[in-house]
Every structure is written in structure tokens, then in C-alpha cells.
């Protein structure tokens, strides 16, 4: 079957200019550069300091009808550039894209909304901007208003709307587009909970009708939930395309340089000093099976193998946990195990620590490990970004989010005790 979108060797080059802080050229710059070029010849030097930068390079992949594909990658990986090219806002420098069917893109919610105009007027304006015809807007008008739940405020200028109403209206217009291909850039991360749920339902409905959805997000959980396929971009090129879970695992490996297991056992140079050397770190489930993805309700074990080279030292263990955004979620020192207070004898040790289920938030967790002495303080080794794993939530209702389906912020997600008493 012919793909809906066929991307072949697409590249986009930007020029980064270093000689001016100003983003815009002015005639003065042009004139002075021109003069420099003329007089520069005498000095035999070029003053051209602009630098090429490929935001996308050799990007090729295909999207088929009915696919819900999530584009992931770090900031600056080229996700937004790709969307802008697909939306025809900007032109590629190289390559070719063939799109079969009409395309609508939502790079922002409420593009072109005018604060002075009423809700009614903005529906027509925004609809036209998104590519709807007047008759199309008229026929869907009541549906849009009902979906946005703004009936009473239809003739109020949108500048008087609450931000929630504003977003509801904007999304509602967009959700009533009927393109063959819908491009969405993280616009879901807005609005109140019930409305978000409605939006998500609407998008699933859209793709259910054989439409294709292309979704760009930083949020692994939304991508996992919404998309059946994913594409990974890194520094402007495609690293992987395929099943969402596989691509997210690849993302963890390639972008954070870590897997669920990391070994130095055969390395000549191991982290550590003359007393202790790090041999291996593993992330595993309760049966000690090394895995990369964990359901949010399951406990996660971290095991560290190390070798003690001298007798007699006393030290303890320490782990650091970071999320994808680089936030230090928490740190732990081993203040529990018996051995931490005892002088060690030579040999190989394994230390295991357990993170209970329902404690970490969804997403990627990156682990750092250390062996330290508290009193007097000494670090034997401290390795960052050693292993990583992915926490997912299937939303069965047994995690802290309950049945809530959308973005659920927070670095940790403990399941806590609640009590309500009627007075």
C-alpha cells in the first residue's frame, strides 16, 4: 500500500550567525559587511562568521494510513523542524516529501485567536486559519461550541475568558477539523482534566476513522498511550522507527547512553580506587531478571557488584536517581544493612536495593551509584548515568493516577493513604 507520508532524505540547513546578537539583519549590517568585504580583500581575510547547522539531515521514513506515530527525541533533535516542514511552514533544504491526502497541523492551540473578538467570531477566524471553509465551520459550529462548553460566553471577547475556556475553545475548533492527516505538537498538555480526556478521546476517534496522526512530544507517557508507532530523532537524524515501546527503549539507550545493565568486569580500568572497584550494576525485577521497562506498580531492584581489594575499610553504598529532565528525583544512602558498619575483607560483594512499586513517576529513570564513607567523608567512586529504566502506567486504576488518563506531573508518584471524614 502506498504510504500516506513518504519522507525521503529530507534535510534542513540553517545558518547560525555569530557576528551579531541581533536576530535580524539591518541595512547597517549589510552596508558595513559590504564595506568589510571590499576592504577586507586588502587584509586577505574573510569576515564571514556564519556557520552552517543541519537541524535535520537525511531523514527518511514512511507513515501509513491510520498510523498514530509519535516523534520523540531530546530538545533540539529536530522534531519541531520536521513538523514545520511537513506543515509547509518552512521548506526543506534537501530531499522530498510526498503527502497523499489533505493535512492539517496544530503547532499551537488557538493560532490567530484575537483577544478582542468574541468566541463566535474567533471560531470563524481560527477555523479559516486552520483551513476550514465558511460552510464547513457553519455546519460544525454548534458541535464546536458544545464540545468547548462555552455556550454562555459565545459573545464575550475571548480576552475575558479564563485560560481554561480559551484552550477548550481553541482545541474544540481544531478537533473538528477533518483532515486525512493530523499533525499535533504537544498541544494536549493544556486544559483541565475532564477536557483533556475528551480531547484524547477525540484524537483516538480521529485516528479510528482511518486518519493518520503525527504527534510530537517530550512526554513519554502520552506517546506510549496515544501512539502505536514512534520515531526517534537524534541530532537531526532518525535513530529508530517502529513499535512505540521499542523506540522508547532505544531512546533511553542512545540518548542517555545507558541500559538496564552495565558492566566493567572485563575493563582494564574500573571505576574506583585502590580499595574498592565497581564491577557491575543491574536493574531488575523481583526475580532478579534484568529488564528495561517496569510497570509503575512493580518493585524495581538495583544491584551493584563491587570488589574490595584491601582488608579493613568501612564504607556504605549510595544511589542517585534522576529523571529525563535531569532532575534529581532522590538519593539514598545505605543506612540499613549490617555490613555497612563492619570492616570489609577482600572479595566481591553484591548490594541490592529495592524501590517499592507505586513510588516512581512514569518515564525514564537514570541511576548513579557510589561507595562512600560518611565519617570522615570519603568517596571511593561515584559514577553517574550508569543504568536506566523506564516506568510505565497502563492506567488500570491501581496507581496514584487512578483512572486519570492525561499528563500527570511530579517527579515521584507515591500511592498514599487518604482519609475523609464527614463532620
Amino acid at each position: 500500500m502506498e504510504p500516506v507520508i513518504k519522507i525521503e532524505n529530507v534535510g534542513k540547513k540553517y545558518f547560525l550567525s555569530h557576528h551579531t546578537k541581533d536576530k535580524y539583519l539591518t541595512l547597517r549590517d549589510m552596508i558595513s559587511d559590504g564595506m568589510k568585504a571590499i576592504f577586507g580583500k586588502q587584509q586577505g581575510k574573510s569576515t564571514n562568521l556564519s556557520e552552517e547547522f543541519w537541524a535535520l539531515k537525511d531523514v527518511s521514513f514512511e507513515i501509513h494510513k491510520g498510523d498514530r506515530i509519535g516523534i520523540i527525541g531530546r530538545n533540539g533533535a529536530g522534531k519541531s523542524t520536521l513538523l514545520k516542514i511537513l506543515s509547509r511552514i518552512t521548506e526543506p533544504t534537501t530531499g522530498k516529501i510526498t503527502i497523499n491526502g489533505n493535512i492539517a497541523s496544530l503547532l499551537e492551540v488557538g493560532t490567530g485567536f484575537h483577544p478582542e473578538l468574541s468566541g463566535r467570531e474567533n471560531i470563524f477566524l481560527n477555523g479559516a486559519i486552520l483551513g476550514m471553509s465558511k460552510t464547513e465551520i457553519e455546519s460544525k459550529f454548534d458541535e464546536i461550541v458544545a464540545f468547548a462548553e462555552i455556550e454562555r460566553f459565545l459573545d464575550t471577547p475571548v480576552k475575558r475568558y479564563s485560560s481554561g475556556m480559551y484552550v477548550r475553545l481553541a482545541f474544540s475548533i481544531a478537533a473538528h477539523l477533518e483532515p486525512d492527516i493530523l499533525i499535533i505538537d504537544e498541544v494536549l498538555a493544556v486544559g483541565d482534566a475532564t477536557f483533556q480526556k475528551k480531547c484524547l478521546g477525540k484524537i483516538e476517534e480521529v485516528s479510528g476513522h482511518g486518519r493518520t496522526v503525527l504527534f510530537v512530544s517530550h512526554n513519554m507517557e502520552t506517546v506510549t498511550r496515544l501512539c502505536n508507532k514512534a520515531g526517534l530523532l537524534k541530532a537531526g537524524s532518525v535513530q529508530a522507527v517502529g513499535n512505540t515501546e521499542d523506540v522508547i527503549n532505544t531512546y533511553m539507550r542512545s540518548d542517555f547512553g545507558t541500559t538496564a545493565r552495565r558492566s566493567w568486569a572485563t575493563d582494564a580500568k574500573k571505576p574506583g580506587d585502590e580499595t574498592v572497584n565497581l564491577l557491575e550494576v543491574r536493574v531488575h525485577d523481583k526475580d532478579f531478571k534484568t529488564e528495561e521497562t517496569y510497570d509503575i506498580t512493580r518493585p524495581v531492584g538495583i544491584s551493584m557488584d563491587y570488589e574490595v581489594l584491601n582488608d579493613g575499610d568501612v564504607f556504605t553504598h549510595s544511589f542517585n536517581f534522576f529523571n529525563e529532565q535531569g532532575i534529581n528525583i532522590f538519593n539514598v544512602h545505605d543506612t540499613v544493612s549490617e555490613i555497612r558498619n563492619k570492616p570489609r575483607s577482600k572479595g566481591i560483594y553484591t548490594t541490592t536495593m529495592w524501590i517499592p512499586g507505586n513510588m516512581l513517576a512514569e518515564g525514564i529513570v537514570i541511576v548513579g551509584v557510589a561507595i562512600i564513607k560518611i565519617e570522615p567523608f570519603k568517596i571511593y567512586f561515584h559514577e553517574m548515568d550508569v543504568v536506566s529504566f523506564n516506568v510505565t502506567d497502563e492506567i488500570r486504576g491501581d496507581s496514584a493516577r487512578g483512572h486519570y488518563v492525561l499528563g500527570f506531573p511530579g517527579a515521584v508518584r507515591p500511592l498514599l493513604q487518604w482519609q475523609t471524614i464527614k463532620k
Binding site: 521548506e91 510526498t98 503527502i99 497523499n100 476550514m132 486525512d180
Partner: protein, 279 residues
């Protein structure tokens, strides 16, 4: 599939004009937005579009009276002033608004696709509506002074078209330049102000063309200003045969108008693909 889009670098859009036609709805809505937004929250609202030109007209009437400038026999000064002020104001607002339009709508340019020409073109519509309103003032003056225009009046749309062409041509050219070089933002008010002095708003072209002191070459340079042709044309239409239409000058200004429109569209199309990257 019925609808195939191919995105390639430097692809000449074969259906450029067809695309533009398909987006006429957006063109209409952008113009409509600008019209209704402008006077929102203004107490007298749309009346401002009458008050603004009216005040200018009054100033020019007073100024003309004080300086004792000549009026053609049988032509009330108010009507004489209108014939120049109305087209000039149309040009100055259409030109200023359209040259600033891309910057003013930069959020649209970076977020959605549509033929970019729609943006400056829709601002012309707004100025055109203003012009038609102010034309009402002229007709009120005509009724007040019981002034009967001649058959020439039916040619007024020709000169209006000419004025539209020059404001749009210059407007889209400057709009495109403005995206990259912000200098033009400062240049536009200057052009508009300076243009007022070299166009026959406060004087009559007859003085220039009939003067023996002014060399022929200067007269040609004078006619290169397309607004000379437009204003003279308006005078000729509204005042009947009471002023002269200097034909070589008029033809020259038509050529200039057409060239400026072609040049404007050519440059705009050349650079419009990079708007989102540089704006």
C-alpha cells in the same frame, strides 16, 4: 488519492494562484478581523473612519483659505481638497498597513501554512473599506454644495484600481523586505510623509506642468510618482473637465504602477518560503 502534496526545496508551485484562490476564505476572514477589531472598545466605533479623514480635510480647507491657493472656477474648496486627500489617505494607510502586515501576523506565519500573499492583500481590503466610507464624505459635500460631477466620474474606479496597484505593489515589496531588514519599518512613515509633499495634494499638477521655470526633465521625474497620476485622475473624474489630465504623465504613472505590482509580487514570491525561518 485526490490530494497529493509534494514538498521539495525550491519547488515551483505550479498551482500558486490556484492555491491562493482556495484560501480566499482566509483572505476574507483576515480582512474582516482587521475591520472589526480596529474600532472595538472605541466609544464612537466605526465613526472614527469618518472622523479621521474629515479632520484632515478640514485642516486642508483652512490651510488653503489662509494661503489663498486658487480653486478652479465653480469648484468648492471642500470638494477640491477631497479629491486629493481621499486617494492620498487610501494610499498611505494601505501602503503602511500592508508593509507592516507580515510582522504584525508573524505568529500566523510561523504556525500555519497558507499562501503568504493573503496577509498583505487582506490589509488592502481594510483600507479600501475605509476609502469607501470616506467617499461618503465627498458625496455629502457634493450634496451640500449642490455640485454635479460630470460623466468623468464613471472612470473613478480606474484610478482607484491604479491606487490599489501601487499601494499593494509597494506594500508587499516592503512587507517582504521588512521580514528580513527591520529598517524598512522606519522607512515607511518617512516615505509616506515625504510623498505627501511631492504629490499634488496641497497644490495642483497644473502648476508643475504649465510652469515655464520647471525644466521638462523635472516634469517627467515628477510624473514618475504614480500618486501624481492617481490624484490628477481623481481630480479629473470628480471635477469634470475643470482640471487637466496630463496624458503622458498619466500613462507613465500607469506603467509605474503595473511595474511596481509585478516587482512586488516577484520579490515576494522569491522570498516568501523563508519567511518562517527569518521572521
Amino acid at each position: 488519492m485526490e490530494n497529493r502534496i509534494i514538498i521539495e526545496p525550491g519547488a515551483k508551485r505550479k498551482n500558486y494562484w490556484w492555491d491562493l484562490w482556495n484560501f480566499r476564505g482566509l483572505f476574507y476572514f483576515l480582512a474582516w478581523r482587521d475591520v472589526i477589531v480596529r474600532y472595538k472598545q472605541a466609544v464612537i466605533g466605526i465613526a472614527w473612519s469618518v472622523v479621521k479623514p474629515l479632520l484632515t480635510i478640514i485642516i486642508f480647507i483652512v490651510l488653503g483659505k489662509l494661503l489663498h491657493t486658487a480653486t478652479p472656477p465653480g469648484v468648492p474648496r471642500a470638494i477640491l481638497v477631497c479629491t486629493a486627500i481621499l486617494p492620498w489617505q487610501f494610499f498611505s494607510t494601505a501602503f503602511s498597513e500592508s508593509s507592516n502586515s507580515l510582522l504584525a501576523n508573524s505568529n500566523l506565519l510561523t504556525k500555519v501554512y497558507f499562501p503568504r500573499l493573503i496577509v498583505p492583500a487582506s490589509t488592502i481590503i481594510v483600507s479600501l473599506i475605509d476609502f469607501l466610507t470616506s467617499l461618503g464624505i465627498l458625496f455629502l459635500f457634493m450634496i451640500y454644495y449642490r455640485y454635479m460631477p460630470g460623466w468623468n466620474l464613471i472612470l473613478l474606479p480606474v484610478f482607484l484600481l491604479q491606487a490599489t496597484m501601487i499601494s499593494m505593489g509597494a506594500g508587499i515589496y516592503i512587507a517582504a523586505l521588512n521580514v528580513k531588514y527591520r529598517d524598512f519599518k522606519f522607512l515607511v512613515p518617512f516615505i509616506v510623509q515625504f510623498g505627501l509633499y511631492i504629490s499634488p495634494v496641497a497644490f495642483s499638477s497644473d502648476y508643475v506642468y504649465q510652469s515655464v521655470k520647471i525644466p521638462e526633465a523635472v516634469k517627467y521625474i515628477y510624473s514618475l510618482n504614480p500618486m501624481v497620476g492617481v490624484i490628477d485622475g481623481f481630480r479629473w473624474c470628480i471635477l469634470g473637465g475643470k482640471t487637466n489630465l496630463y496624458l503622458p504623465g498619466f500613462l507613465l504613472s500607469i506603467v509605474v504602477c503595473i511595474l511596481s505590482l509585478i516587482l512586488g509580487i516577484w520579490y515576494f514570491r522569491k522570498v516568501e518560503k523563508s519567511f518562517a525561518d527569518v521572521i
